[in-house]
Amino acid sequence: MLDLVIANLTSPIVLFFALGLAAALARSDLVVPEAVAKALALYLMMSIGFKGGASVAGHGIDARLVGAVIAGALLSFSIPWVAFQILSRTTKLPTLDAAAVAAHYGSISIVTFVAASESVRLSGLVAEGYLVAVAAVMEAPAILTALWLAQKARKKAGTGAEGDEPQGALLREILLNGSIVLLTGAFVIGWITGARGLEIVSPFLVAPFQGVLCLFLLDMGLVAGRGLRAGWRELRGPVLAFGLYMPLVGASLAALVALPLGLSAGGTALLITLAASASYIAVPAAMRLALPEARPAIYLTLSLGVTFPFNLTLGIPLYIALAEALT
């Protein structure tokens, strides 16, 4: 496993992340324009969605696909509950902050997923293409659990949120989030067009993928570094610790669920990574709409500044080793 850790730590992807992190912490003015960062995110969604769909088209569907999708949804629904219990017991975070943080850990980070996919491939393993669909399915349920937790807390405190938007509108906004739509849409298009489609888009969506990922991770490092510089004051000891051990809690839950699914070692590693990763795109936006009192300085710094780097460097090799041990 040490080999895996070292190979991981010296991959261009991780090194560009480190470069961005260091530049931001040193207060360099290096910056990736916002429009370009958004375009890179679109590219990643489009590429992994398409490749996942094309791979399913090639290998066909089986019961395991359905099982994995259901397992993913269950994990996304339940992890926030676990996270919330831990936060309530070990930290002094206000309830709404705790609920918001919990939502991030139930949902997923697509870049962590992508980085894990690359490591899985480098380890000589193969993962099922439909794990992209599992990723898409895991984005939203965590938000619902968090909202339910917040509502319960509010009822208890007798501070029902007045002037709330109707729940239906909120649900639509969450499910039609751009990243979910593009990931799912590209998956379906990859599925429909299969190998023929993949051949057409391959020089754009496949070949330069890892290089683009380097640029994206440079930006992620810059963003995480700036977040850490601005927000680390908010992170007291137990909250910070949560950002480091919660991925392992999520990973363990996923490992339990993965066992009966019969996934390959690669697929198991990716499912574990999904559970261990924390969102920083879809969930923060949803939280501003649904739980505006929760503080972004806390949940974003934790997810992007602590958990993401942890997963990228140490987490992923660990999850792959765990998956190999399990299968």
Binding site: V32, A41, A161, V223, A230, G231, P284, A285, L289, L304
Partner: protein
């Protein structure tokens, strides 16, 4: 204040201008609200960075829209200010952001 005597050749009319600085994810709700209130128009301007009670932010330092701010400018008749300000205030009460009101004069009264 903006007596039309300033512009003897072209009549100007006093109006109020609301500047609402608000988080990007809330923007659509605010615009929907303004539409429901039937204001005659508004314009949204992007913000690059800012600081307030809830800390500072920079557009370039964000992966997602969360935390980003926009400025919604709405010019309207003084008579309509209270009925617009109240629901806007209510919508924003739980959110990060500020609202200012100022005096402006407009030409082309029929626009407002």
């Amino acid at each position: 204040m903006t007596e039309t005597s300033n512009a003897p050749r072209l009549a100007t009319h006093p109006k109020k201008r609301l500047d609402i600085i608000v988080e990007a994810p809330i923007m659509n709700r605010l615009l929907d609200l303004l539409d429901r209130l039937a204001v005659t128009g508004y314009t949204v301007v992007p913000a690059l960075a800012g600081r307030g009670r809830d800390g500072s932010w920079r557009r370039a330092g964000l992966v997602s829209d969360a935390g980003q701010m926009v400025m919604v400018i709405c010019v309207l008749d003084e008579s309509r200010v209270p009925e617009v300000l109240e629901p806007v205030y209510k919508l924003l009460s739980r959110q990060i952001g500020i609202v200012t009101v100022s005096d402006v004069a407009v030409i082309r009264r029929e626009h407002f």
